[in-house]
């Protein structure tokens, strides 16, 4: 009876232990399922991140291509603006030259006709008498110390007007064209090779040989004279390159910019003085060129005709 009882107790303990172990095994299986689900979720997240990374890499590659394209377009724009600036400088100088040629022609025609008329008047017999009368009347009318009756003044002024109509070119200042001589003076500092200053202006061609009615020669000589006066004798002669007058001077010990400014001011002052001496109004504009533009427009030293 004791043995059976022991067997029953042992069987009951075994069944209890089996039930506990079954529960624990079930719990472990549940844990395994949860870990598997977590791993699957993580794998999905990794796959999503990898997909995002791939898209980001594609975006980076596309952006780099766009950047290269932008850089290429920027270079194209720079090249285009460089060429347009060169073309603008050339066309401006060419326009100044053509416009100056027109004014120079007007000047030549006016002065030639004026001189011809003066010569004709001087060849006439009574010109001297009329000039004497004119200047006497002028002096009389300007003399404030002598009172002149109104009637006499009126008669004198009428006589003066008549004489002016007959010998006008002999007593009047020489005529000048109505147009204004406009020019753009470009200047720059060339720093490639020997630093030098360069100044260019689109002047019309002077006649060969030049004459007193040659406005182009007057302006050209005046500008060179001013350069010699301000900078000193021995400065390099100007040269003509495709019709453009170019002054080029080695900077020497001075800064190229400073030398360019000095040369520009000298040329400008000379042109202004010469135009004023000819009675031609002028408007000059100075434009500083970037050295690379100037280097492209003007050849260095003496490739063109020197005077």
């Amino acid at each position: 009876m004791g043995l059976l009882k022991d067997f029953l107790r042992i069987e009951a303990d075994r069944r209890g232990a089996l039930a506990v172990l079954r529960v624990e095994a079930q719990s472990r299986r549940l844990q395994i399922e949860e870990i598997g689900a977590e791993a699957k979720r993580k794998r999905d997240e990794v796959a999503m991140i990898e997909e995002g990374l791939r898209r980001l890499a594609e975006d980076v590659a596309r952006t780099e291509e766009e950047l290269l394209d932008i850089e290429s377009r920027r270079e194209d724009h720079d090249r285009e603006s460089h060429e347009r600036k060169i073309e603008a400088v050339r066309s401006s100088l060419e326009y100044d030259r053509a416009d100056g040629h027109r004014i120079a022609e007007d000047f030549r025609n006016l002065r030639s006709a004026f001189e011809t008329e003066r010569a004709r008047l001087l060849a006439e017999a009574d010109t001297g008498r009329m000039m004497d009368n004119f200047f006497q009347i002028e002096a009389f009318l300007k003399d404030t110390g002598t009172p002149i009756p109104d009637a006499a003044r009126k008669a004198l002024m009428k006589e003066r007007q008549d004489l002016m109509g007959r010998i006008g070119p002999l007593v009047a200042p020489p005529p000048a064209p109505d147009g204004v001589f406009k020019a753009t003076i470009v200047y720059s500092a060339l720093e490639e090779g020997e630093p030098s200053a360069v100044v260019a202006v689109g002047l019309p061609d002077e006649a060969e040989p030049s004459g007193a009615h040659d406005l182009a020669a007057l302006l050209f000589y005046g500008s060179y004279a001013a350069v010699v006066e301000k900078i000193g004798p021995g400065v390099p002669r100007p040269r003509r390159e495709e019709g453009v007058v170019i002054y080029e001077q080695a900077a020497g010990s001075r800064a190229p910019d400073e030398a360019a400014l000095g040369l520009f001011l000298a040329v400008k002052a000379g042109l202004e003085k010469a135009a004023a001496a000819a009675g031609v109004p002028c408007e000059l504009t100075g434009v500083f060129l970037e050295p690379e533009i100037a280097s492209a427009v003007f050849s260095r030293g003496g490739q063109a005709r020197r005077f």
Partner: protein, 151 residues
């Protein structure tokens, strides 16, 4: 007073117009209307000779080298002459030894001639020496009192 166009004046003097412009402008005498009066024409005529040399453009003047030899070379005293007998010289320098070069002859140093100067007192230019006339007491410096204006 006759005036000429500067181009015509230059052509008459045988120089280029820019030469004429440079001459006058360097003396601050260039007329901006290009018409040259007689005084300026005389200036051009006087200055044209010096200008012709430069018509081909400005000539750069080389910087003198400080280490270059001077115009006068130093005169070294010649070595004393010591005649050597012919047979003794043959013993010293046998003809069978052609590799030994004979000593170079002493260089005759000739000093450079002095620069040609005009005679003293000759008025060759404005920088010529002033002609001095010694008085009875000899040369002396006299300080003249300032001239007082007449009252």
């Amino acid at each position: 007073m006759a005036v000429k166009w500067i181009g015509d004046a230059a052509q008459e003097l045988g120089i280029t117009p820019l030469d004429a412009v440079e001459i006058l402008a360097s003396r601050q005498e260039y007329p901006m209307n290009g018409l040259v009066d007689e005084d300026r024409f005389k200036t051009l005529r006087l200055m044209r000779t010096g200008k012709r040399l430069e018509t081909s453009g400005s000539q750069p003047i080389p910087v003198p080298d400080r280490h270059a030899s001077p115009l006068t070379v130093p005169v070294t005293p010649p070595a004393p002459y010591a005649p050597v007998p012919a047979h003794h010289a043959a013993e010293i320098h046998p003809p069978a030894a052609p590799s030994v070069a004979p000593p170079p002859p002493p260089v005759t140093v000739i000093p450079a001639p002095p620069p040609v100067r005009p005679p003293v007192g000759e008025a060759t230019s404005v920088t010529a020496p002033l002609q001095t006339i010694p008085g009875r007491e000899g040369e002396r410096t006299v300080i003249l009192p300032p001239v007082e204006p007449k009252r």
